[in-house]
Amino acid sequence: MSVFMDLNISYTTDRKRLQAMIETAAHLGYSTVAINYTVEFQQKKQEIPRPKSVTELFEKLPIVQGKSSPIKVVNRLTVVTADAAHFRPTAEYKSFDLVAVYPKTEKLFHTACMTFDVDIICIATTEKQPFHFKRSPVNGAIERGVFFEICYTPAIRDSTMRKYTIANALCLMEICKGKNVILSSAAEKVLELRGPYDIANLGLVFGLSEGDAKAAVSTNCRSVLLHGETRTTAFGIIHTVKKVQPTTKQTDEAEAPASKKTKTENI
């Protein structure tokens, strides 16, 4: 078991709100959160935001409830896409600690599972999954160490979305058998966040077993972070051993040249 994480806190330009959300997450006992930037491609032209550095947001990070260490904040990019051409792992992707993709079509879901260099594949929660999950891509993703994400905030907001969330989650669980699933909030407001034990229990409703549900807010999230790290460190071939200190931000930047070399291999 590892520390609890919420790998999806929606980015908002409202700095106060973002701060409040991270403070609440720390209060609820999450040791790591990811600020999520979503890009949706309507036109071909895409613009990927630069992630805000955490130091801009907080001078001093809030302390996690019941612990003596401050919360760790990472950045994450979610690419919502209906066309494989929209997913282009450019240098801009590298400035994020985590990259997620939300495939809108079955074909894209397949490619995302099998080839895309991502850490997380999002499962629809605001609409009925427009396709059935197939065993081969799901197993492919599990083998590659890519995780499926189910967000619970839509289920809090609205009854219809709640039905979709549960149905889509149950569908996924039938195929993946509870492996490689993470549960996160996708919260936009403070009151949409829930505590880790509550979410572990909610996982049972999504068809996870008790152990898998707890792993979905802890251990699995850690694997996602590690997967994200290997992505930025050239597929894990080059791996810098860091002393366990919350100063990862700087080391990541120092590694940037190493990852640039391998950029071309991504395609």
């Binding site: 590892s2 006992g29 229990n201 409703v205 802890s218 251990t219």
Partner: protein, 361 residues
């Protein structure tokens, strides 16, 4: 309907009944083996103020230390190990670490060190341990037990060096600690004070809180009827009632009430008043032991109440419950015991632990 949504975590309750005067009675062992105690609460029916005897025992409870950012290896360095840890009566528990998330460290008075580690730390540390009971699919947590009183663990020996080196250089674990030492009277705390002086620490007295309850309905207890088969309430009902008293839960409900249908178990009496006295802190078993002894003497003089109760809660994040038995959290992490002492020196002992823990001894 949907069986997967009707499951619930396991719970275990062990009940014992014996007499304090019985030579074979194990109450002493149970108390002394429950190392890390967070809260003690005494419930005395028909009593208004704490008797002087009890109050002086509580006053003599050991203070404890809260040390910040203490490297674990400091506790196993040669001098400290010989002077303090191996001498016995030394308790240490990492503070602000959660048993289901972080590395948790405990030093038992028996000279053992328990490390409950996540997989990464375990692998880096390279000490032999066993997978935790609270694992799922793949082992993510390991428990390492190092017995410093073992012959092969002599200071300077190969195995000792390995442990020291591991904690000093490979994985320099550092965390806040709660420390306490049972002082035997002689001043031998030199080593402990020496260590503490290097770090920021505070000495804390156990906090006390007293409350007098008025007109409490209470279940009638018969010392011989532990299981509640002869008409009195069963152990769970009793513990539930005790909890309700502790938390000021009303039990004047009826079965048709909207809010709550909780009622005091039958057959019941009513007591005009009752004393609820709680002590919180990092309480060592020796102190609880003497408190229990004092409670036994309570009935030396004639009293109105036929029984009294003592509840001891362990730290939910302690890596052990009784002895070296592993303890975990899952969703609640309870580990507590409760004595009901009767006039004739009979007692009931209820012991409960967390969902995946072993059965209490």
């Amino acid at each position: 309907m949907s069986p997967e949504l009707e499951r619930f975590p396991r719970n275990i309750l062990v009940c014992e009944r014996s007499n304090f005067l019985n030579e074979k009675s194990r109450h002493g062992i149970h108390v002394s083996k429950h190392y890390f105690n967070y809260k003690v609460s005494i419930f005395i029916p028909e009593c208004g103020i704490l008797p002087a005897g009890l109050s002086s025992v509580i006053k003599s409870f050991n203070s404890y230390f809260l040390v910040q950012k203490l490297p674990v290896y400091k506790l196993i360095e040669e001098v400290f190990l010989d002077e303090v840890v191996k001498k016995g009566g030394f308790y240490a528990l990492s503070h602000k670490t959660r048993i289901d998330e972080d590395n948790t460290i405990a030093f038992l008075p028996s000279g053992q060190m328990i490390l409950s580690l996540d997989k990464d730390t375990y692998e880096q540390l390279g000490l032999e341990g066993k997978p935790s009971l609270y694992n799922h699919r793949n082992a993510r947590r390991y428990v390492v037990t190092v017995d410093f009183t073992d012959k092969s663990m002599t200071v300077g020996g190969k195995r000792y060096q390995r442990v020291l080196l591991g904690l000093k250089e490979r994985v320099p674990l550092t965390c806040d600690f709660l420390l306490s030492r049972y002082s035997t009277g002689t001043d031998e705390d030199g080593a402990l004070q020496g260590l503490l002086s290097q770090y920021s620490f505070e000495v804390i007295r156990p906090a006390q809180y007293s409350q007098t309850l008025r007109i409490v309905p209470c279940p009638t207890l018969h010392p011989s009827d532990l299981q509640g088969k002869a008409g009195s309430c069963d152990p769970h009902q009793f513990l539930e009632w005790l909890g309700s008293v502790n938390m000021g839960i009303r039990c004047d409900n009826s079965a048709s009430d909207f809010l709550s249908t909780y009622v005091c178990p039958e057959p019941q009496d009513s007591m005009s008043q009752a004393l609820l006295y709680t002590i919180t802190g990092f309480l060592i078993p020796e102190d609880i032991q003497s408190l229990l002894q004092e409670l036994q003497r309570y009935f030396d003089e004639p009293k109105f109440s036929p029984w009294l109760s003592l509840t001891v809660h362990g730290f939910v994040d302690s890596p052990v419950s009784w002895g070296t038995m592993e303890h975990g959290f899952l969703s609640s992490g309870e580990n507590f015991y409760n004595f009901v002492c009767f006039k004739n020196q009979d007692y009931w002992l209820h012991m409960a632990t967390g969902a995946l823990d072993g059965c209490p001894p």
